[in-house]
């Protein structure tokens, strides 16, 4: 049955997430202005606020699926701040998703508890992972992979204990030649270059990695399959599959901040005595109200596309297209919403005394990382037309 309500159990979890988010928000400005600092693994207030993890795992009759609830929790967290958390969850890096999706049982056991970053993008290639230049060469003598290359925009790159890295075994093989490798920090030849200076999500840990003759055991190839499938036989898809939960996830990150912007704006309008009556329709409204309603509609729409994509995965249904739909929609929605809220509030909106201007900066990454809006539209169009990469790129 079509339903958009939450069980009391799930609601209570989200309420607690919001409480914790409000605490994290108190530190948001500080870490925005002190880019070099990392938020602590636990804020002082953390001890009074037990993690929701345990309750999360209890899924009863009327409760949401984990993926769906996970999206709501992500929104609730970033509603407080994108990168300040009351506590940093262990093992919640993007690389961990890849590990759990593509790793062998041994590998999952071996790296359990480690926070793993995901290193894909390189200085020369952004949206086109098939352009990966990083190489992995097998040294039969020592049974080791020798990794060379450079990676940028590595999320949680500084604090992660390891990374899942994309490297090619054979450039001539194109996408098919690309494999994922797990590399732990401290491995010789693995250097964390610097933390990027960014427009937004400044306290977020975004690193650049350099690998120079970095040697890892043969068993570090994620999934263990060394052979290169014939091009187009979907070997690359295997790698790509790890995106299906992260695309809705990053869309949710962005939307949580957009919601914060809307809530702030709603409050300011209320203080200014503006009535948001929804009964009137559009013609009778003041411009700011009409504008605000449109932003709210955009927010609700984006939110629902995210829940749709997550709900499908909760039910084991393919969600590749829906994951791109919500990523594309979220990426443009958060820009429209934060830009629009500033337009509505004017001077107030651009002041660093408030967080709106920060949300405007923070959300801008949403349409860029984990596949730009253009890439998502390409994926959607290919599905619409039943096209291959060769037909449309």
């Amino acid at each position: 049955m079509i339903d958009f309500t939450l069980s009391d159990h799930d609601q209570s979890i989200l309420d607690r997430v919001r409480d914790q988010a409000l605490i994290a928000r108190k530190y948001a400005r500080h870490y925005d202005e002190n880019e070099h600092e990392f938020p602590p693994d636990e804020l002082p207030e953390a001890k009074d606020h037990p993690s929701v993890m345990k309750d999360l795992m209890q899924r009863g009759e009327g409760d949401c699926g984990l993926a769906t609830l996970g999206m709501l929790i992500s929104m609730g967290e970033t509603w407080g701040d994108y990168s300040v958390r009351i506590r940093i969850p262990k093992g919640a890096g993007l690389g961990n998703a890849a590990l759990s999706a593509a790793g062998t049982p041994e590998q999952k056991k071996r790296w359990a508890g480690l926070t793993l970053a995901m290193a894909i993008t390189e200085p020369g290639c952004g949206s086109d992972p098939s352009q990966v230049q990083a190489t992995a060469v097998l040294d039969e003598a020592t049974d080791e992979w020798v990794i060379n290359g450079e990676k940028i925009f590595v999320t949680t790159g500084c604090r992660a204990q390891g990374v899942v890295l994309w490297a090619t075994l054979d450039k001539s093989a194109g996408r098919a030649g690309i494999k994922s490798f797990v590399i732990e920090k401290g491995t010789p030849g693995f250097v964390v270059a610097h933390k990027e200076k960014k427009l937004g999500i400044r306290s977020d840990d975004t690193a650049a990695f350099v690998f120079t003759d970095c040697r890892v055991p043969r068993t570090n190839l994620l999934g263990g399959k060394e052979e290169i499938p014939k091009a187009g036989s979907g070997g690359f898809k295997g790698v790509m599959k790890t995106f299906n939960l992260t695309r809705p996830g990053v869309a949710a990150f962005g939307l949580g901040m957009a919601e914060a912007a809307l809530d702030f704006t709603r409050g300011q309008l209320a203080e200014a005595g503006v009535d948001l009556g929804y009964g009137s329709g559009t013609a009778g409204q003041p411009a700011v109200v009409d504008k605000f309603h449109r932003l709210e509609g955009t927010f609700e729409a984006a939110r629902l596309t995210i829940l749709r994509a997550a709900w499908l995965s909760d039910h084991g249904q393919p969600n590749n297209m829906e994951a791109s739909v919500c990523k594309a929609k979220g990426g443009s929605a958060v820009r429209e919403i934060t830009q629009g809220c500033i337009e509505i509030l004017g001077p107030l909106g651009i002041s660093r005394e408030h967080l709106l201007e920060k949300w405007f900066r923070d959300v801008r990454i949403t349409d860029i990382y984990e596949g730009t809006g253009e890439i998502q539209r390409m994926i959607i169009a290919r599905t619409l037309f039943d096209y291959t990469r060769a037909d449309l790129s």
Binding site: T5, D63, H293, E296, T305, L384, L392
Partner: protein
């Protein structure tokens, strides 16, 4: 629990309605538009589906099914996918019938509901929209003054669906909290019904203007009786129905453009292979989905019986904007062929703009 799962029954209905829309409704759309004439035959066929009657009380000749706004939203999207003009014509009486079923007096139910349970299609309509710009359903210029045990209604209504044939109108008057709806029979003295209006789109849907000059109705004609009418609910219900109708129009445009773009070649490729065409079509898909989820969310709130004023407004306003954009993009995708009436896209372009200015015409 958040769920996008239609019930099995709803899945069955959706499929059946889609086949009906594809094989029966769509083929008749163009002629009806060209002749600005509703196909009585198609209307009768839709009536046989019993979309309205099945939801009315058994005792009064209905099917006695518990009404599901979500199911009706699914139905309406498919019908509108076939032809929005026929869909709005067929469901317009629901705005009257369901209002009586939900808030009418026993007497009103007994007198009026059986009309909709007969062999043939019966027309009645909600009269909400008023002429002139800046229409605001919370502040109507039509007024109803209590006079003894009657109400005297004066004002004007436009875009009243099926006004050419409706036996009764549910006329909305007043402003803010003091808004009420009154059952006004076609032959009420002081009520003048115009010739069918000529509109940009939905040309097969006959709409009229009503002039009410001191139309006197008994106090009992007021919906909700002494308690007064919940007018906002009528507005909300119609907004959700319009949102889902527009979703159907958007999907029609997208579904038509996909094969066309794959088939049509320029610069040695299918135009679908050009990002300049492919990306906007991806956007058409994104927004069609978005329209549907917003409409479903509002419909599910209706089903739960909670106030959906916000959801209903956001869904309608969102659909109004996006259907317009999608139909426009559909025309652009076809280029010159989008501008000629050999293809349905130009009709959807007119229908989308027309639907987006409607209020208070439908229900679910």
């Amino acid at each position: 629990m958040i769920s996008f799962q239609l019930t099995e029954e709803q899945e069955v209905v959706r499929e059946a309605m889609h086949d009906f829309a594809e094989q029966v409704v769509r083929p008749g759309a163009r002629d009806a538009d060209e002749e600005s004439k509703l196909s009585e035959e198609l209307l009768a066929q839709v009536h046989e589906l019993g979309l309205i009657a099945t939801q009315l009380p058994e005792a009064l000749g209905g099917g006695g099914e518990e009404r599901s706004p979500v199911t009706l939203a699914v139905v309406l999207e498919e019908l509108a996918w076939g032809d929005a003009a026929l869909a709005t014509a067929a469901l317009a009486p629901a705005a009257f019938a369901f209002a009586i079923a939900d808030a009418g007096s026993e007497e009103q139910k007994r007198d009026l509901l059986p009309l909709f349970c007969g062999e043939s299609f019966h027309a009645a309509a909600l009269a909400l929209v008023e002429p002139g710009p800046l229409f605001d359903p919370t502040d109507l210029s039509t007024r109803a003054e209590a006079k003894g045990d009657t109400f005297v209604i004066s004002g004007a209504k436009s875009l009243v669906p099926l006004g050419d044939r409706a036996s009764h109108f549910l006329v909305v008057a007043g402003s803010g909290e003091d808004r009420n709806a009154f059952v006004v029979p076609r032959d009420a003295s002081g009520l003048t019904i115009s010739e069918p209006e000529k509109n940009l789109g939905l040309k097969a849907l006959p709409t009229t203007t009503l002039k009410l000059e001191s139309v006197e109705v008994p106090a009992a004609a007021r919906l909700g009786g002494a308690g007064g009418s919940d007018v906002q609910r009528l507005v909300n219900v119609s907004r959700v129905a319009l949102a889902t109708t527009m979703t159907g129009v958007s999907r029609a445009a997208l579904d038509f453009c996909v094969p066309y773009a794959k088939d049509r070649r320029a610069f040695d490729q299918a135009i679908a292979q050009k990002q300049g065409i492919a990306f906007p079509m991806a956007e058409m898909h994104i927004e069609t989905e978005s329209q549907r989820w917003l409409a479903w969310k509002a419909a599910s709130e209706l089903e739960r019986g909670v106030d959906c004023t916000r959801s209903a407004h956001l869904a309608r306003a969102y659909s109004a904007e996006k259907s317009m954009w999608i139909a426009d993009q559909g025309v652009q995708t076809l280029g010159g062929h989008g501008f000629i009436r050999e293809h349905p896209v130009e009709m959807w372009y007119r229908n989308a703009r027309t639907l987006s200015v409607l209020e208070g015409t439908l229900a679910l």
